[in-house]
Symmetry: C2
DNA sequence: CTGAAAGCGCTTACAG
DNA sequence: CTGAAAGCGCTTACAG
C-alpha cells in the first residue's frame, strides 16, 4: 500500500501538483476557480491524502514542532498541568508540542536531530555544548529557569528560593521560631531542594531566628518518624516543619502521627504544590501553590517571542506562588 | 547562520557526499580507509554537523519516532512510570518516544501528519477513521487496550473489570458483605470507572451478595462525607468501600474522618494505583497496584512486534494487578 | 576504495 | 487561471 502523494491527487483531479499544493495549503494569493478547488479537495479526501511532514519540513526548512524536554525527576500533577496550558496556548499559533520524558539514556542530540523542532523548551538548563549545537541547527533553545530575573545566571533559582521563604514566613507568622526543613531524598531534585532550603535559611537569618533544622525524609513513615524524633529532641525543639513538597509533607504528617504528636498543635506542617491529596490529608495540608496556569502561559509566550525573532521578551509574571492555608498550620 | 549540510562536511574533508554518508551512517558494507573515516568524523565535529531528520525521513520513508498519545484525563504517577519504561525499552531499539498530551483542541490528524511517526500508541482506542488514515500513511497503529484478550472488541476493558473484582474480593474476604463503590466524577474517566464498577458488581453477584452501592465522590471532604452518610444509612449498611482510585479513596478516608467513623473498624477502604500518598495516608491505604513495569515492557513489545511486520504477537503478561494490603482494610 | 546521479514529496518563484 | 522546473538534504544503487 504505497503512500498517497500530491501527484496522485493531481492525477485524480486532473490538475498539476502545483495547483494541488496551492489549493491544499490555502494560498489566497493565487486565484483558483472554485470548481477546481472543489475537485482537488474531493480527490484529496477520496484518496485519504496526507502531505508528508518530512517533505514539507525539508522544503520549508522549518517544522511546526516544539519539543519539551521533561526533567529527570518524577513529574507530578504540577508539571502535568503546566504542559496542558502550554499545549493549548501554542496550538493556537499552529504549533504542536511534543514531550520527551527525559529519563532515557540516549544523548540529547539524538532527540532533537530526530525531530527537527522549531524550538526546544527544557525544564532544567541545557549544557552549553547542547545549546550551541541546537542553535547551530537553527533551533530556538529555551529553558524555564530563564524566566528568573536573577543577576547570577549560574543560580537561576529565584523562585525556588522564594518558595522556601514563603513557607518560612507563613510558619513564623504563626508564632513558630524553630523551623524544621524536610528535605527530599531523591537526588534528581537535589538542586531544587537546595534552593528551597536556602530560601528558608535566609528568611530565618533575616529575622534573627535559629537556622532551620534540615532532615532528609523518604516517602515512608519510618523515615519521617526518625526525622520527627530529631526535630523534637533539638533545643529549642522544632514546632513547625516546611517540607520540600506535598508528598514529603504527607510523610511528615504520617511520621508525627506515628510518634503520637498532634498537628498543628505540637508541630505545624507546610508543603509545596497543592496536589489533590493535600486537601484530603489528616489534617488538611497547608501548602504553597505554584500558579501553574500563569507559568504555562508565560512559557508559551517565551517560546512565541523566541520564534518571532529578536524583540522584547514577555514580561515576567508577578507573584506566582501563594500560601494555601488549611488545617496543618 | 545557514545550516551545515553533508556537502559542507564533504568539502571540508575533501571527499564526496557519498563517502560522508557512508562514514556517518556507519555502513560496514562499504570499505573506507581509516584515514578517510577519521577526516570525515573530524570535519563533522568541527562544523557541528547534524544530519537533517526531515531529509533522512523523506529519503528512507520512515522515521525513528514512536508517538504516544496520552488520554484526555489527568495522568498520574502511574502512566508517568509506564512511559518511562516504554521510553527505555524502545530506546534500546533506536526508537525515540515522543508524547503528546491529548488535551489539545486540534484534531489527531494534524498531530501525526506533523511528525510522520513509525508507530502511534494510544492509551484509549482511536476512532476507526483515524486508524484508517494513519494506516494509509504507513503508520503502525496500536492502543494499550488491544492487549486485552476479550472476545468482544467493543468492550476491551477486561483488566479494568478485573481491578473492580480484585478490590471486591479483598473486601469480601475480610468478612464484608455490603460494599460501597466510590465513583470518580471526572467525566473523562467515566469509561474506566464504569468497567471497574462493573467488575465489583459481577463479583458481588457471583457471591450472592447485595449489589454494591455506588456513590459519586469529588476530591473534597464534603462530597465524600455526603457519600459516607448515604452508605451508612443503607440497610444493610455499607462496611467497606472500594474507590475508583487512590485519590478518591483518600477523599473517602477524609469523609469517614469528618463523619467521626473509624477506618477500618467502622468502614474499610481500598483504592487503586498505589500512588506515593497511599502509604502515607491515615490509616495507610490498602490498594491495587497495577504492575506498571510489566505493562510498560509489554507495550514496548507490542510496538516492536508491529514494526517487525506481521508475525506472532508478544504473549499477554500474566497477573498485572495485585492487592497491596495496608491498614485501611 | 570513491564519485556522479537519481529520487524521496513537497512548495514556490517563474513562465505561460 | 495553471503547469514545468528547481531544489530542500539525504541515501544508495550503480559505475568507475
Amino acid at each position: 500500500m504505497p503512500r498517497v502523494t500530491s501527484s496522485d491527487v493531481a492525477r485524480e483531479s486532473g490538475v498539476s501538483r502545483t495547483t494541488v499544493s496551492y489549493v491544499l495549503t490555502g494560498k489566497d494569493g493565487v486565484a483558483i476557480s472554485a470548481a477546481t478547488r472543489q475537485r482537488v479537495h474531493e480527490a484529496a479526501v477520496r484518496l485519504g491524502y496526507a502531505p508528508s511532514a518530512a517533505a514539507r519540513t525539508l522544503r520549508s526548512g522549518r517544522s511546526d514542532l516544539v519539543l519539551c524536554i521533561l526533567p529527570d525527576w518524577p513529574i507530578g500533577p504540577v508539571i502535568d498541568t503546566l504542559l496542558d496550558h502550554l499545549v493549548g496556548e501554542l496550538a493556537q499559533r499552529g504549533l504542536t508540542v511534543l514531550v520527551h520524558h527525559g529519563r532515557a539514556p540516549r544523548p540529547l542530540s539524538e532527540l532533537w536531530r530526530a525531530v527537527t523542532p522549531r524550538a526546544v523548551l527544557g525544564f532544567t538548563p541545557f549544557a552549553p555544548d547542547d545549546v550551541r549545537a541546537m542553535r547551530q541547527a537553527g533551533i530556538q533553545v529555551l529553558d524555564t529557569t530563564m524566566a528568573e530575573d536573577v543577576p547570577d545566571p549560574g543560580v537561576s533559582s529565584a523562585s525556588q528560593t522564594r518558595i522556601g521563604r514563603l513557607q518560612t514566613q507563613h510558619l513564623v507568622s504563626g508564632g513558630h521560631r524553630r523551623i524544621g526543613y524536610a528535605v527530599c531524598t531523591d537526588p534528581r531534585v537535589a538542586h531544587f531542594g537546595a534552593d528551597r532550603l536556602a530560601g528558608a535559611r535566609r528568611e530565618c537569618a533575616e529575622r534573627g531566628l535559629p537556622e532551620p533544622l534540615a532532615q532528609a525524609v523518604h516517602l515512608d513513615v519510618g523515615s519521617a518518624a526518625a526525622a520527627v524524633r530529631i526535630w523534637r529532641a533539638a533545643r529549642p525543639a522544632v514546632t513547625a516543619v516546611a517540607a520540600y513538597n506535598d508528598e514529603v509533607a504527607l510523610a511528615v504528617l504520617a511520621g508525627l502521627r506515628a510518634e503520637g504528636l498532634a498537628t498543628p498543635d505540637d508541630v505545624a506542617v507546610i508543603g509545596v504544590d497543592d496536589i489533590p491529596a493535600a486537601r484530603l490529608a489528616a489534617p488538611a495540608l497547608t501548602t504553597v501553590s505554584q500558579g501553574i496556569q500563569t507559568q504555562g502561559r508565560h512559557h508559551a509566550a517565551m517560546v512565541l517571542a523566541a520564534l518571532d525573532g529578536p524583540g522584547e521578551l514577555p514580561p515576567r509574571p508577578g507573584d506566582l506562588h501563594e500560601v494555601v492555608v488549611r488545617d496543618s498550620t
